[in-house]
Structure formats: structure tokens, C-alpha cells
Amino acid sequence: MDRRKFLKWTAGGAAGAAVVTSAAHFAPLLHKEKVAAASRLEIPTTCEMCVNKCSVVAVVENGIIRKLNPNPESPRSRGMLCARGNAGIQQVYDRSRIKKPLIRAGERGEGKWRPATWDEAWDFTAQKLSAAKEKYGPQGTLWSSTESFQEVFFKNLGMAFGSPNIVRHPTLCLASVNLAYSLTFGTVPSFDVLNAKYIIMSGANRLESFITPDTMDLIDSTMERKARLIYLDPRFTVTAAKADEWYPIKPGTDLAFMLAMMNVIIGEKRYAKEFVADYTVGFDQLAEHVKSFAPEWAEQETEIPARDIARIAREFSDAAPRAIYYAGRRSSWYREDFQTRRAQAILNAIVGNWDRQGGMVPNGKLALGELAVFPWDDPVAPRVDEMDKNFPLAAKGDGAYLKLRENVLAATPYPVKAWMVCKQDPMNALPDQARTIAMMQQMDFIGVIDVQMSDTAWYADVIFPESTYLERQDPVEVMSGLYPVVVYRQPVIKPLHDTKSTLEIVQGLAKRLKLSQYFDFTMDQYVDAQVKELPLEAPLEYLKKHGMYVAPGFPKYGGTLTAEHRFVTKSGKIELFSERLQESGNDPLPVYHPPAQPPAGSFRLILGRKAYFTHGNSTNNPWLNAFAPENRIWLHPKTADSLGVNDGDLVEAASTVGAVRLKATVTQEIRPDCVFMLHGYGKKSKWQRLAGAGASDAQLLETAWDKVSGNAALHETFVKVRKV
């Protein structure tokens, strides 16, 4: 080969190579442009991964949901979307979703299912419900649900059916704190965390257990605006890590802390004198009542130094009215929780932070229209949990779940034999799982509406698969609070599988139960009627475009601080002393009862949540499961030493109602007298990715409830732990 040929070859080869490389370099850009040209929609809607209902914008490309972005228009969610919100996509495309109606084919809990048509499922269910009605009356059916925008239709079906037995999730969660604030202020306010200067939190692990707009505000106020955060928790949580002061309070003694604070604030005349005089009743009785609760006494109870309690009380009152004792959400801790929350409400009241910036603010309201529906008769029979007798002050519509279960198991005052469950997992949400299973086994029929196979669905007779929140239109709702927002939920894709919305499921049942007249409308009609009243030209188009309507002029402060305003209480004022409580045989002012201590060798079991794992809605999500594929029991090193347990060892935790096995984490971040488990593991349903991983706290927790509200008390259980 001569030189010329050689050069030609190499030159040609190099040129060819250049062409090839440059084409390769531009190829990925070309591909991206192609996708951009194809169908790409951005549809605003509302998240359903938790109660906060943040506003999202769904990015749909070629009919597939690619991403959920936060919607910056919402003053509530303010351009944030938490891990669960982002993971909502996985709920839609989950392979283990329920894709068509299922009817049980084996024993309860065996997991044998046969697919059914909707007609079959409805026929079967209606037949069973009617049979129960025949034999036991409509009150022989139980209708339990967890909040959702379509829950109203489910509840209405139960009521139209004639059953008084509607039970909802607040009785497992925040019923006690809501009742405490309602009895004090006539309403449950929101907390203006963003503008507060001094914030005290008992538990309410807002920076870890749950991501809400309050989470954002707490970070902003403490880290940008220099607010001070005092945090009480037997566990060193993320909130504890970020707080200015964290006290590992002895569990169940928060009331002592609050009483001592009131003792200092009233004793040193640091309360808001004018506010108390103008807007409250019962101050004198309160002042007398707290005289004996000195910080030194509280130190004995809480293990928080007396001088810190006194100092915090002074700092709190100095910062008022921009000082709040944050109420939190889940108040299902102790049998005395209601009174603890009452003390909290009273403490907030006497520093005068009501309806002030940086204090507690009654929720802004927005009026929605209503579709006129055929009214049904009120149920005739009394509730099976005998709310009037047992919890006369509590919210009747929510019931008292644990008392209800006891009565159902004892078949008093009458038997309940059919159970419809909507978007709820009582198997894990209720303590003492063995009793829940017993309650299920004594039912003639169990029907479940859910998106995925929860443990409760696993034990059901019929499962109605619901479309996910990204596949349906829901009634419009007002998210009330400091910034009331009307949120809209519209489908961003058509349902992937043979699923229906709760309304459609209810309508199918209603038809067969001869109750159609109460549900004779479409979702479009329902929504239209709701939004008619909004001050917009074309409300529905507006909502479809923005996903929400933000009421102007909020937040509003001071609207109730007028002479004419009447609080929704017996006296018309804020009730520091509550006659209603006295009349119903309860303490009108909070009385402290020291909590029982675990006997030697036992530990108090306390629960908590992790934001990306909390709630049944998100426990079967692969993107979220990756962060915490199992739970372990937390033991303080002293505890671990005494039991001969090392980090990672398998242990057995046992209470009087059950025993579970799981691995131990030996950590400094829990008190030596407590053990901790993350809630939501040990699932039985084989369609759950984490079935069998970790252990279920529901199997260990003993049945206990708050005396006044009936709210579950989930921190009253003592467990023994041993190495296996």
C-alpha cells in the first residue's frame, strides 16, 4: 500500500468518524425535542396522599403521568410537594392495585379471590346488607370510613340505609384535641405558626411524622424569623433535633407541665388581663385551681427542671400574643388526653393569643353551594356505641371506635353483623388486632372500598376497587384554615383498570337497595351545584384551569374580638372553666392524675410516624418503601444491656394482648423507660410489598380510650421485651 492511498484512507476514515461522532452527539437532543412536540399536558388537581390536600400539577405525556409538580398558586401548600405527594404516581401504576371487583373464594384471611363483574359484586353486597337489615334491622350494619372528598356519599348511603352506626377515623386520632378546643373556644382554630415568636410543642413531631404547611411554616419561623421552639417528647425526633430546647419529658405528664406554666403565669400576673376579662369566663376558678401546681411539683412529675419550666412560662407569656402552645394532630395518647388538651387550650387562652397574628386563629370560612338531594329519614335506632350515654360531649357523627368494637363483640345493645369499610384499614388502625379480627369474624358480611389490598381488605368478603385520586373527579372541598382555599380534583388520566369512584360504587349499591333517589345525580352535577356560589364568572372552568380558588383577603385576624361576637359555647365566651364538662360529670378544670408507670422489666410502648410512611395510603408504595423497608423496636442502651440485646438482634415484645417479633435498634434517642415502634408494618396482606416485614403495633396495643372523647389511647400499653 503506498503512502497516498494510506493518507486517503486515514483522511476518509477521520472524516467519517467526525460525521458519526457529531451525529451521535446531537441524537439525544433530537429525541428530547420529539417528546416535547408530542402530547404533554399540565393538569392541576389536588393530592390525596394525606389529609393536607396540597395542590399539584400533573404532567401527562402521551397519556402517562410522568411527574407531579407542586402548584405555586396555593397559599396553603405554597409550592411544595412532599415525598408522598411525589410518589402518588406509583399508586396509579402499582401492579398490585386491585384492578377489578373481587369476591372471596376461600376462608377469611386466606387471600383467595375470584374476580367478579360489578353487577355480581353489587348484587352480592346488596343481598347481604338486606339480609342483615331483615334479621337485625338497619342498625345491624356498620359503616366505617376515613376522610376523603367522596366519603360523604358513603356515609349518606349508610344513613339512608337507616343505620346510625357511622364511625370515622378521628376517634382514632384527634378527637380529643378537637373536643378540648371546641369546648373551650367553640371551634377548633388553626395555629399561625409562621408569625409566632414562641412555640411550645408536646409531641406533634411536625418536622418528621407528617409534612404539612405547618411544617414549612415552622421551619420558616424558627430558622428565618428567629422564633423559639420548645419541644417535649420522650423521643429524640427530628423536631427535637431542630428545636431550640428539647426536654425528654416523662410520658403522660404534659398536663403537669402545663399546669405549672399556668401557675407561674397567673401567679406572677403575666396573663393577658384585658383579654381574660373581656372574652373569658372562669378565670377565678382557674387561678385557684392552679395555685398548688408549682414548677417544683411539676419537676417531680415531668423530670423537667423547675427553673426551666418557670423560665419557659415567663418567656411564653412575654412573647404573647405571638406565643402558641401548638395543638398538634394525633392526640390518641393517654386516657387523660382530653384534659391535657383542655389545659393546653386554656394556657393558650390566658395569654391572649386568640385571633391574633402569631397566635390561634379561627378558621376562615368559604361558603359552597349544595346540590339539593332527596332527604332521608333519620335512623331510628340509637348508635351501637351508645355515644349519648358514654361520650355525651363527643362528636356523635364520628363515634367512638373502640367502645363500638367492645359493644359489637358483646352484641350489646344489639348485634351488628354487616360491615362496610371505605378507604380505611381498621385491622392496623385499631389497637388490639386480635379483637378486630374477632369482630370481623363475627360479621356475616364485610365489604371494602379501597385502591389496594389492605389488611382489612384481605379479610373482607367483597372488595370494590376505587379509582385513584388521579383518575377521578371529586366534590370540591374547602380547605379551611388561615388561608381558606377551595380545592378541585379532576382526573388527569382515565382509569387504568376496571375501577370506579366511591360515588359510582355507592350508586350501584343504592340502586339495588332501592335508595337510588338519594344519589340521583352525576359528579358533574354535584360539583356544579357546589361551585355556583363562588364569586367567579365561570367557576368550573376556573377550577379546571387553576385546580383551586383562593379566597381573597386572608389571613384575617381579630374578627371575633368584638363585643358583639358570641363564641359557640354555653356562656358565649371562651370557657376556661367549663360548666358543660361539670354537668356531664367530668372535671371542669383539668385535674392531673399521674400516669401509671411500667412495672419492673416492662416498658411503655410509644408510637410515632415517619412522613414518607404514615397512613395506609402510602405504606405499599415502592418509592417510599425504599426508605424504610421494615420497622424495628427502639431500645435505649441501658435497656438493651439489661436484656442482653445488641443492635440488630431479633427480640420479642409482648403485652397482655399479643406478642410480636422484630429486630431491635439500640439507640440513644429514646428514654430508658420507653420503647418505640414505627406504625404500619407487619402487614398480613400478601399483596402488600412489605407483608411480614417488621411487626404490627396493633397486635401489641391494649384497648384504652380517653374518658371524655372516646378517642383511642395508644400509649397506655406496657410491653416486656426479650431476646429470641
Binding site: M80, C82, N86, A87, T215, M223, W623, P672
Partner: protein, 183 residues
């Protein structure tokens, strides 16, 4: 008005980070990152003895360095740096030799078994080029992250870096990381 060269950086206020993992999930959704790997992560530090305890969280991802080692060692030029500082991978040219993974001091890159190429955070370049923020920045509930042009004299990034003290990670590796952690 002087036209300057954009240089994108990330400023992070770790005090605000609560390890909620929103950024990790948002990135996974936005960039179709398979489970088992992650383009971003949260570093955790826990120490102390009861009851004097500390827990701190620090988000991290590719630092889009000033003199990126990964770009330098790439034999095909698949790893490249844009004029605006974003370091990205041209998948078409990547042969999967994984030299860049080894060269990165921050372990920011990973190998995609299914595709045979290397992947890492690219500051959501496809979003940034449309005027949007990277997914992790947009989604963060605590607003830990500030993304922007360090060369913009009136930008938020400059404002923060001029007012606050900051540090970068592993400066001794000599790559000039461009994630600034406010102190």
C-alpha cells in the same frame, strides 16, 4: 447592561433539612431513576449521649464542579460540561467504562445496568432550559435549596453567598465543587 456567562450553582441551608426525602422522590419521578440508585441523597449525622443528642441532615448530589474530574477522565467526551456549568452525560457516547464513577470524589455517579451507561444529577437541565427549577429545588417543603446563577449580581445566590458564611464538601479533592452549604 453587561451580559455575563451564566453559572448555575446550588446553595443549601442544611439547618432546614428535615430528611423528608421529598427531593429524592421528586428526582426519581422527574428523571425516571430506577429504585436501588439515586441521583441525590441525604447525608445524616447523629451523635451524642442521652440526653445531649444531635441529628443533622445534609442533602447532596453532583456538585457540578469547577474542574470536574469526571469530565477530564472520560475517554469519549460523553461526560461534558456545559458553558453554564452543568455537568451532564451524553448517553449516546457513553460506553460504560465507569472511569468517571471512580474519578468522582463525591460518589455522585452510578452505573445503569439496564442501559449500560453512567448517570447522575444534571440539575434537571431539561427543566432549567425552560426556565423552571430543578425538581428537587421546587419540591422541597423546607425550602432548603436555592438554585441560581452565581454570576448574576442581583441574584438570590449571590445575595446569600455574600451575606452568609459557607463551606463546600471535600475541597481538598481539588475539583472545585459548586454546591455551597451555608453555615
Amino acid at each position: 447592561m453587561a451580559v455575563h456567562q451564566k453559572r448555575y450553582v446550588l446553595v443549601i441551608d442544611s439547618r432546614k433539612c428535615i430528611d423528608c426525602k421529598a427531593c429524592v422522590v421528586a428526582c426519581r419521578a422527574e428523571n425516571s431513576v430506577p429504585l436501588g440508585e439515586s441521583r441525590n441523597w441525604i447525608n445524616e449525622e447523629r451523635r451524642g449521649e442521652w440526653p445531649k443528642l444531635l441529628a443533622a441532615f445534609e442533602p447532596e448530589q453532583c456538585h457540578h464542579c469547577e474542574s470536574p474530574a469526571c469530565v477530564r477522565v472520560c475517554p469519549t467526551g460523553a461526560s461534558y460540561q456545559r458553558p453554564d456549568g452543568i455537568v451532564a452525560v451524553n448517553e449516546a457516547e457513553c460506553v460504560g467504562c465507569r472511569y468517571c464513577i471512580i474519578a468522582c470524589p463525591f460518589d455522585a455517579r452510578f452505573f445503569r445496568e439496564d442501559k449500560g451507561v453512567v448517570e447522575k444529577c444534571d440539575f434537571c437541565a431539561h427543566r432549567v432550559d425552560c426556565g423552571e427549577l430543578p425538581a428537587c429545588v421546587e419540591t422541597c417543603p423546607s425550602k432548603v435549596r436555592v438554585f441560581g446563577d452565581i454570576n448574576d449580581p442581583s441574584g438570590k445566590v449571590r445575595e446569600l453567598l455574600e451575606k452568609r458564611r459557607y463551606r463546600t464538601r471535600k475541597p481538598e479533592a481539588g475539583t472545585g465543587p459548586q454546591i455551597y452549604y451555608l453555615l
